[in-house]
């Protein structure tokens, strides 16, 4: 609420200022704005068109998909979605993902808030070391830890379990979340913003489930979608694959539409300070 008010004020100020500048600059401004609109419209098409194509393809029958990328569906194949949900197991993957994300999201917020509170509120020996120790995790590429992590999770009997993946998600979300909660109290990330970031990050995670969830009935969405795409080569159910992609995109899309402003301001604040 408050963040929006601030932003609108800032935009109004910016608009007024650019107008002032424009009034003085005068010359060539018509060409400038025409060229701008052209470039921006071009990129809009470049961004939207693939998604639109995906949506249309998800409603086409396989022979139509295979004949040309341009044809529109003769009849809308809603059946693609139900096949994706049941036969391609996207429904099960969806539930698996929801279980893991629910646990890891709550865990991440709880564990990192407690740690951030203790680190920010109190002075104690080793505080600096701990803080930089957490932050260092931001620098390290995940794939370096992948091999030992796989064996560690295996040794703990947590391979292909929800709990195992939840714990790993929490652990790997800590550097980012603690960093934001301590460094940017003014950016109003708050629990909600941290929740949004972690939701998107964990929902989109691919590498960790790929390695730590090796049994098919526990697959998460992104991983299941990947195997579905790889198998498509011989199963030839393209319609269901595109429908599965649309289904997987929906939660991200909803979160983005609901929280777009907050997401943008939080991310840019992080990048500007970082």
């Amino acid at each position: 609420m408050h963040a929006d008010a601030v932003r609108t004020g800032e935009e109004a100020r910016q608009a007024a200022a650019t107008q002032l500048a424009g009034a003085r600059m005068g010359f060539g401004s018509l060409t400038f704005s025409a060229v701008s609109q052209l470039l921006l419209a071009f990129w809009t098409i470049v961004v939207i068109f693939p998604f639109a194509w995906m949506l249309v393809t998800a409603l086409k029958a396989d022979p139509e998909i295979l004949s040309s990328p341009w044809t529109l569906p003769a009849a809308l194949q809603w059946d693609n979605f139900s096949r994706a949900w049941t036969e391609a197991h996207i429904g099960r993957f969806f539930v698996n993902t929801a279980i893991v994300i629910a646990g890891s999201l709550m865990g991440t917020l709880l564990v990192s808030s407690m740690a951030a509170y203790a680190l920010a509120r109190f002075n104690f020996p080793g505080r600096q070391v701990l803080f930089y120790g957490f932050i260092a995790g931001l620098m390290f590429p995940v794939f370096l830890a992948l091999v030992p992590l796989y064996f560690l999770v295996n040794d703990l009997n947590l391979l292909a379990t929800y709990q195992g993946l939840i714990l790993v998600y929490i652990a790997y979300s800590l550097p980012f979340t603690i960093f934001f909660q301590i460094m940017l109290p003014l950016a109003k990330p708050g629990l909600i913003a941290m929740g949004i970031f972690n939701f998107l990050g964990q929902w989109n995670q691919f590498l960790l489930p790929l390695v730590l969830m090796p049994s098919e009935d526990k697959y998460l969405l992104s991983q299941g979608l990947y195997f579905l795409a790889v198998q498509q080569g011989y199963q030839n159910d393209y319609g269901a694959l595109f429908a599965a992609m649309v289904i997987t995109m929906v939660p991200t899309l909803i979160v983005y539409i609901l929280f777009q402003r907050r997401l943008e301001s939080g991310l840019t604040a992080g990048a500007l300070k970082g």
């Binding site: 939207i48 693939p50 998909i65 407690m114 590429p141 992948l146 030992p148 992609m245 997987t248 991200t252």
Partner: protein
């Protein structure tokens, strides 16, 4: 007092330290040790071989090729992404009036950034597919006929095609960052410049660019790290880590993944990871040093 304090601090910190220590710090530490062994994963016994893996890497032609591809990404990703993002951000801020539909463009441009990489990858793999793909469909529709190629298997195009996907999905993010940075510049600077007869280009070059330099620098480092970590998109777009396309676009992290999870050369794979980590650290430091210039406080 002190006792009271620690009774709060310890339980608050303990879960984070435990999880982080067990699942993050310990695996990284182990990776460094494993890189000094010839472990094949079959037994718990890890034969210590010293720096043998590193020496083999030094002579490994395939690793050199992979690093060369990382080097190409290292130039292309920051250069192209930042140029496009900066251009769009400038269009929004350097114009004489507020661009119509600015809010809409921001929402649209930013959108691919938040879409799961797997979806982006699969979607583009079908855009690039020779026969039913969108790109060749467009080329056939507007082009002189047979310009369409199989983008993802031709060694000349495969890495570029996949890098284009990365650029496509991240331009909006960097544009939004540059916009925020540009909008924090006091407008009085521009007013003064206009009075002195500055044109749109000179005011961008002499005011905007130096004042957002810090943001550009941060972005270069982000993108450089992304170029070294590059790998998920290659696997997904080319339909598997061992496909022909993936082999022809193989970068260091993908080589690591294949050595580990396809060939069970855990020791060798870990050595690749350690080299990548060291390269990342040096590269970040190097870029920070090379791009240091006077910063302007305002």
């Amino acid at each position: 007092m002190n006792y009271q304090k620690y009774r709060l601090i310890i339980p608050f910190l303990l879960p984070a330290i435990l999880l982080y220590g067990v699942f993050v710090v310990w695996p990284y530490a182990q990776a460094i040790y494993i890189s000094l062994t010839s472990w094949r994963g079959v037994s718990g016994n890890k034969p210590f071989v010293g720096l043998d893996n590193y020496q083999r890497l030094w002579e490994d032609e395939r690793f050199h090729q992979a690093l060369t591809r990382n080097g190409q990404l290292l130039i292309v990703l920051p250069l192209v992404t930042i140029t496009i993002a900066l251009t769009f951000a400038a269009l929004f801020t350097q114009g004489s009036q507020q661009i119509r539909g600015a809010g809409f463009y921001r929402i649209v441009f930013f959108f691919p950034q938040i879409i799961p990489a797997v979806i982006v990858g699969i979607l583009w793999s079908y855009i690039y597919t020779p026969n039913i793909g969108l790109l060749n469909g467009i080329l056939r529709a507007i082009g002189p006929g047979d310009v369409s190629t199989s983008w993802l298997t031709d060694p000349k195009t495969v890495l570029g095609a996949i890098a284009a996907v990365a650029i496509w999905s991240s331009v909006g993010f960097y544009m939004v960052i540059f916009l925020a940075s540009m909008q924090s510049i006091p407008t009085s600077f521009y007013e003064a410049a206009i009075l002195d007869g500055a044109t749109r280009w000179t005011s961008f070059k002499d005011i905007t660019f130096p004042l957002i330099w810090e943001t550009i620098r941060t972005s270069v480092i982000y993108l450089a790290i992304a170029a070294l970590d590059f790998f998920i998109l290659i696997v997904v777009v080319s339909g598997g880590s061992t496909t022909m396309g993936a082999r022809r676009a193989e970068v260091a992290a993908l080589y690591l993944y294949n050595q580990a999870f396809e060939s069970s050369h855990w020791g060798y794979a870990s050595a690749i990871g350690v080299v990548l980590l060291i390269l990342t650290l040096f590269l970040s430091l190097g870029i920070m040093r090379a791009t240091r210039r006077e910063t302007y406080e305002f």
